[in-house]
Symmetry: C2
Subunit: 206 residues, 2 copies
């Protein structure tokens, strides 16, 4: 199985090696700065300097700070997906497995709360100009959830439930990041919404 080449939108001209390297340096610098101080700490001039790239070049690669952070999130999501798929959840019901997976992801975010802050804030603040990228993040999240459910071809009802779960996931993260909800609270909310899955399950489980 191929290791890289995974996500980047297949459109647009392919990048040369040096360009790929620049892109990588930029994303790395972004994640690093974000890990330090969250959204505000990711300052475009600093990202440019850290990644040894001119400001104009940074903007050529990522047309705005939001684009940059959403791309950073795409990047992190891939890692996450890889990690999660190695050890699949072992709950009985689909609802349990999804909740388990999300809580695992949540614990990963807790290890880098500032990074989580930067990424999630960017994601929810994104306007129409970032729709394609945000959508890609959303699709990736959907894949992770469906994966953990272990479903081949979900029903429309189940897809609705997954959408609602994603809504809850994002919004719960926000309330946690802004200090308005505890970790325990987030856990409860996730478990609550995951019950929707059982509600929409057609027949037997697994």
């Amino acid at each position: 199985m191929p290791a890289e080449v995974s996500s980047a939108s297949p459109s647009s001209p392919p990048l040369t090696e040096r360009q790929e390297a620049r892109r990588r340096r930029i994303l790395h610098a972004s994640a690093q700065l974000a890990s330090r101080g969250g959204f505000d700490a990711v300052q475009m001039r600093e990202v440019a300097e850290s990644s040894q790239v001119a400001l104009g070049t940074l903007y050529r690669y990522f047309p705005s700070k939001i684009h940059l952070l959403v791309a950073t999130m795409q990047d992190q999501l891939e890692h996450m997906h890889g990690t999660l798929r190695k050890k699949p959840p072992h709950g009985e019901t689909a609802a349990e497995r999804v909740a388990e997976t999300l809580m695992r992801a949540f614990r990963a975010l807790q290890r880098e709360p500032h990074l989580a802050d930067a990424m999630v804030r960017a994601l929810t603040f994104a306007d129409r100009s970032v729709s394609p990228e945000v959508d890609q993040v959303s699709r990736q999240t959907t894949v992770i959830i469906l994966d953990s459910m272990g479903l081949e071809n979900p029903t429309p009802e189940q897809l609705s439930a997954v959408r609602v779960i994603e809504h809850t996931w994002h919004s719960a993260l926000i309330t946690w990041l802004s200090g308005r909800a505890s970790i325990a609270q987030v856990k409860i909310d996730i478990e609550t919404v995951c019950r929707l899955i059982d509600l929409t399950a057609p027949e037997g489980h697994r």
Copy 2:
């Protein structure tokens, strides 16, 4: 029944008449500019000018653009609550009534999509420094939902369901505002999540 004096946090020194008037002018200008062009169109210098107040004064009343927009949302939410409470929803089950109420609110937002954009973006972008205000908005929303359910003393489970509904509501609004979900899609998501209520209902309904 008293007409005004409704929301403002009861703490802090009471405002003089002229101060109250200034505050009102600022909120009005904010809503007006937001209605025109959304989040970006609410520029602090313009708000100050429109409301005939010095920039420094504006910042004394609202310490940031986010604070201003969240306060604007509090203001609008009150109107909304008043309007909604006049014609209570007539669905059979609690779930139906909540969905009906939220869809009614959604239609109101559709009439001023730019204003909705400004308020919702501010709400989700708010950091810890705005927690108290955001929390107040959240509480107000909870009250509206519980109101429409017609519950006296909800169980903890039901409160969880309401929290999840709020999460879904906010996040669904965001996806709609950023053009990633249709109105129909939002409707489906709301109806889907409202099913959670029936799931947590203890006994008979109504």
